[in-house]
Subunit: 370 residues, 2 copies
Amino acid sequence: MSMTFRVVARASRGFARAGEIVTPHGIIRTPVFMPVGTQGSVKGMSPEELREIGAEIILANTYHLYLRPGVEVVRDAGGLHSFMDWHRGILTDSGGFQVASLADLRSVTNDGVEFRSHIDGSRHFLSPEKAVAIQEALGADIAMALDECVRYPADRGYVRDAMRRTTEWAKRCKAAHRREDQALFGIVQGGVFPDLREESAKALADMDFPGYGIGGLSVGEPKEFMLEALEHACAHLPEDKPRYLMGVGTPEDFIEGVSRGVDMFDCVLPTRVARHGTAFTAAGRIIVRDAAYARDFSPLDPACDCRVCRNYTRAYIRHLLKAGEMLGLRLVSYHNLYFLIRLMRGIRASIVAGAFKGTVQEIGDLCGSK
Amino acid sequence: MSMTFRVVARASRGFARAGEIVTPHGIIRTPVFMPVGTQGSVKGMSPEELREIGAEIILANTYHLYLRPGVEVVRDAGGLHSFMDWHRGILTDSGGFQVASLADLRSVTNDGVEFRSHIDGSRHFLSPEKAVAIQEALGADIAMALDECVRYPADRGYVRDAMRRTTEWAKRCKAAHRREDQALFGIVQGGVFPDLREESAKALADMDFPGYGIGGLSVGEPKEFMLEALEHACAHLPEDKPRYLMGVGTPEDFIEGVSRGVDMFDCVLPTRVARHGTAFTAAGRIIVRDAAYARDFSPLDPACDCRVCRNYTRAYIRHLLKAGEMLGLRLVSYHNLYFLIRLMRGIRASIVAGAFKGTVQEIGDLCGSK
């Protein structure tokens, strides 16, 4: 089967949408937050726990899995779903972003990118066709076309060239893509330049992808530039296809993205900040490692009904973090992911109920709703 | 309520016993393996997971909890059960062993031990009375009298003095102990010297403790010395009280200990070796990090029915360990603990069925039995 998408409700003057993506591994209710399982594991979480918190789709990174354990191992395991024992949705990125941010990038040409592994220095070449072949072997429900992501600030000429290269690569990816049980998304680039975002979105829309990533945002630019670029991208993407704002995922970003027409988000933030002892709460972030919580026997977030908040106190979690016990990180990661998934559920319910206003002031209320 | 113990079946010419310890936090079926939760957490495991694998009692270390988070925090949380959200049995050690092995030990006198914290160098004094007071505040079901554990090899004179000091401390601990819902065990010392073990066991037996630890074994001495010392200790301990062989816990040790009359074991081995990628199996240990397992899509232990072995492959777990993903350590720890708990269940069932022979060759069969 191939992926389908339908919008079931709208809000925010029609920009915000509640929808359903149907994949071979189940229904994904949008807007959706996708936890990031970089190396085939969402840090600190088991697949059982991801199911328990209601994750319907997770992201995995092609660059990491390509280098370790290698595509052949995952393919021989029966694909990534089977390898990880995760039988709901998976989206893989193309590897382009990690090549630019982690690897020792050697050169970008119209043919593709040459890089050295950050693990062992070995030399590799990633072309659009190879990015597709790897992702077909990994077998995610949604694959991404190879793109070139440019950090802010960057010269307009370079951003334009990278965007046009990304468009050419999208064509080649689409031509190379074979798996009917996997949807291939194109990626809008164009930095903070509204006209480049428009050009990119229109060119990709003409290729009729089943969905679209919006990349190259939240890479250092001021928030207002990001929102403007996002608006210009969304304005020129088809209404009946899902839109995925790549690598963006604070509670505020959810509200601002959804109210501009975004359906999908991913971000490492909830597990990354957990490592530093930061927990999301309906009243804002707290750093539970702080001495202030040493004898605080209330839950991480009194408004939360997750397993961690039902069973453990801030004092215990602080102790675990201070003592270097793995369970501390597990518990904060679990709560933070639950918090964002529940927030997104709240946003969706609010859109369906016709109550979504799209203001960040709503976050506290949305976090408390089921 | 106070703890009770009864023997329900015997084997190995009457030495091996199957029994039941009834505590305020449930029934503990013996022989039993107690996972170690050093700092108020069994490394890599959540309390839910410990329940799931059938742990009936865990051990926590007084020395660590006394230093961090501090006794007052645990007491204010309502005791260790409540602090950890673990509502089955807990045994706390006295702190004596860790003071000797981890802290900067300043001096041991008849009054107690003076030491400096391994965390911040702060100076502390632990007397028998203080060891009891701390453990009463922690609130475990079973507390241990303060002892002096001597490493092998050691001068007979020193071992004798330390053993007699331990006996004196046991008297003082018993006199100081107040909590009726907590059982206080004395600890047999005497190194590898059979006559000192006999003297120690007899002196403690005369004090009529509700249970007895056997300490100072598996501290560097040859295995045959350990077993001989163990036999001499058990021979002079009362038949109707549980015996706890402290810090000992390989599958072979279980068989050899149980066949000599031991009822309780604890060991950090299953979680410690997990960190190096070592898994217990019915066919012996494997190092799943090894390249040989890169494409091995069988479970860690094909004879095991635990959640990890039902859902994950050696290849995936190897990948997680190589990639430094926390989940790898979690999965191996979970399996290893389950393996030892299940092995002990098998030993108990075998005693009850009158089939237990007490030979290490039985391990493979016992691991496969429910």
